[in-house]
């Protein structure tokens, strides 16, 4: 067998080992199952409910009607099916959550590794930048950015990505510092390896497991952030998301009208998805904990 084939076999074996360890984390499995359901919903949304059901002009139900056979979760203030809205809202939440996380991870990992690796002025500057961003309260910053950039889905993704990277950066920096102290980094330097070689061949592979575990937790935060922004009316006004549903529910007086079917489903969905991601993230951390090597 060629060297490459054997390496791939080893990687597959490593993945198998990861899965069998992960399988033992019950909470993680529950989280994974819940996520699978939501992902399925998001992917099959167009099949379950046609996009027309989201149009206010095509609404067929009564206004704020309680759940009936035809509308399992009742209707909103325009007569649209709440169930259809919730299922379609899944798409926005998951999309924003994942996309914003990708941005946040990319920036955070890059800044974290660089600030840990480069000593002297460049490293300190990046470190201060991280600390500075970490200290700024998320919400005011997000609101300010959203106001300036305007509210579209893309902008929401950018806003969240740009404001949540410091957490990752700090984690990555700590791990980078610990890896940099190890003798094999010194060996890489003595062999003649430059900065790029050291960071990409040695630091990154050792930092990645931690980053991956942290990623799932970041998605949870990103989804919460999106919900918050939409709730405040800063989300994309043309897309239905759980946050915007909550916003509409409040602003149309659903509480005083006693329309629990409008408030509860989106709220519970947010809780469920965030919890699921957190459980999976925690389980991954347990499995990937470098101390257990």
């Amino acid at each position: 067998m060629s060297a490459r084939a054997v390496r791939r076999a080893r990687q597959r074996a490593a993945l198998g080992r990861f899965w069998s360890s992960f399988r033992r984390e019950r909470a993680g499995l529950v989280g994974l199952a819940v996520l699978a359901v939501f992902v399925l919903l998001a992917l099959t949304a167009p099949l379950l409910f046609s996009p027309d059901q989201l149009k206010v002009t095509e609404a067929t139900g009564d206004v704020l009607a309680p759940p009936t056979a035809g509308f399992p979760l009742g209707t909103d203030e325009s007569g649209r099916s709440v169930l259809a809205l919730v299922v379609w809202g899944t798409r926005v939440s998951l999309l924003v959550g994942v996309a914003a996380t990708v941005i946040s991870m990319a920036i955070g990992t890059f800044v974290g590794i660089s600030s840990g690796h480069y000593r002297g002025v460049p490293g300190s500057v990046l470190e201060r930048l991280t600390d500075w961003f970490l200290v700024i309260p998320f919400l005011p910053l997000a609101i300010a950015l959203a106001t300036v950039l305007g509210s579209s889905l893309l902008n929401v993704i950018v806003v969240i990505g740009v404001t949540s990277w410091p957490g990752t950066a700090r984690l990555v920096r700590a791990q980078t510092l610990s890896v940099e102290a190890r003798p094999y980094l010194e060996r890489a330097r003595v062999l003649g390896g430059g900065h790029w070689h050291q960071m990409s061949r040695h630091v990154l592979p050792n930092v990645m497991p931690l980053v991956l575990a942290n990623t799932t937790l970041t998605v949870a935060i990103a989804i919460l952030s999106e919900t918050t922004l939409s709730f405040l009316g800063l989300g994309d006004p043309f897309r239905v998301s759980w946050g915007s549903m909550l916003d509409s529910a409040f602003s149309t007086g659903a509480i005083s009208a006693g329309a629990w079917w409008y408030l509860l489903p989106p709220g519970l969905c947010v809780v469920a998805v965030v919890l699921a991601f957190t459980l999976v993230g925690r389980a991954m951390e347990n499995v990937l904990d470098p101390r257990e090597r």
């Binding site: 054997v6 010194e186 060996r187 890489a188 003595v190 062999l191 430059g194 061949r201």
Partner: protein, 331 residues
């Protein structure tokens, strides 16, 4: 073959600023030469500066004074010069387990140097050659192993192979066998000797173990507080030491049975506070016993300044008493 020493320290000094703001003169004026195909042992206790000296010779630390010369040419510290230098001088560290990235296979660990320098030619063949040279045969069997699947001795061999693959002229080995089992030491040391004999490799071994020096070193240099206090051919220095520190070290080594142990009191002092005069004088048994007084050099010991020991193959010691005895009083 170049008659200039392959690696040289000329008046080298390296200082550090400690947390308290004090300056630690880890290496305080050293002249050292390493010739082609020579094995030199740099011995001393912790804090004497031997590791700092080795790291400065490797270009990992910038000297605060003096120069590092490679084949007679001063080392420059810009990126390109350093990278070219790395092909000629390589390092083997103390802890073979820590020296290998646990996520890289043996093949990747050995090939790393080749990839960093973009060496042309058949990479696989070079890796096979390097692994075979360090005695790991058949080499292919080890390609896909990970460090945690190897024993301590095998890991150290892989590290050496990774250094050899660049075809260096000098190998600097920092405590190459101290974290290996006793029965495995001999093999690694024999390997170093073999590499010297077959490839003409020069080796600078940094160690606190005098027995190791006796085993494989042509010459030995004893360091104390940043200076070389005695150097010369191993047989001469270890059979008939001139410097009181060397004598004390030898006497307490359990492997030397024929000497009355002279256990020095106190701890090795602190490189941030150098004593005046000879830096060894506060602990010197010769000074304490009055021998120095009798020879008339006691004042020199306490206040005089000793010159840096020149790098030569002769047996010499930086000690006023020994110089007086050999009729070599210098200014």
């Amino acid at each position: 073959m170049n008659s200039r020493p392959v690696l040289e320290a000329a008046g080298l000094s390296t200082s550090f600023r400690t947390r308290g703001g004090k300056v630690a003169r880890a290496v305080d004026g050293v002249d050292l030469e390493l010739a082609h195909g020579e094995i030199v042992a740099l011995v001393g206790e912790s804090g004497c500066g031997k590791t700092t000296l080795a790291r400065t010779l490797l270009g990992l630390e910038r000297p605060s004074g003096g120069q590092v010369l490679v084949g007679g040419v001063p080392l420059r510290y810009d990126g390109r010069a350093l990278k070219a230098f790395r092909r000629r001088v390589q390092l083997v560290l103390q802890d073979p387990t820590g020296s290998l990235n646990p996520r890289h296979t043996v093949y990747e660990a050995v090939a790393e140097g080749l990839r960093v320098h973009g060496v042309a030619g058949d990479e696989q063949q070079r890796v096979v050659d390097a692994l075979s040279r360090v005695g790991m045969r058949p080499a292919e069997r080890y390609f896909l192993r990970y460090p945690h699947e190897l024993s301590g001795g095998q890991r150290q061999r892989v590290v050496i192979a990774g250094a050899l693959v660049l075809e260096p002229e000098v190998l600097v080995a920092d405590e190459p066998v101290s974290s290996l089992d006793a029965s495995v030491r001999g093999e690694i040391l024999a390997l170093l000797l073999q590499l010297r004999d077959e490839l003409g490799l020069s080796v600078l071994v940094v160690t606190h173990d005098l027995g190791l020096a006796w085993n494989i070193a042509d010459r030995i240099a004893v360091m104390y507080l940043g200076r070389i206090v005695e150097s010369g051919p191993t047989e001469q220095v270890l059979s008939d030491p001139s410097h009181p520190y060397t004598r004390a070290l030898l006497s307490v080594v359990p492997e030397s049975h024929n000497m009355e142990p002279v256990v020095l009191a106190g701890e090795p002092p602190d490189p941030t506070r150098m004593p005046a005069g000879c830096r060894f004088h506060p602990r010197c048994p010769q000074l304490a016993s009055g021998e120095a007084e009798a020879a008339g050099v006691a004042d020199d010991c306490r206040t005089g300044s000793l010159p840096v020991l020149p790098a030569s193959k002769e047996h010499a010691a930086a000690c006023f008493l020994s110089m007086a005895r050999h009729g070599m009083l210098t200014d």
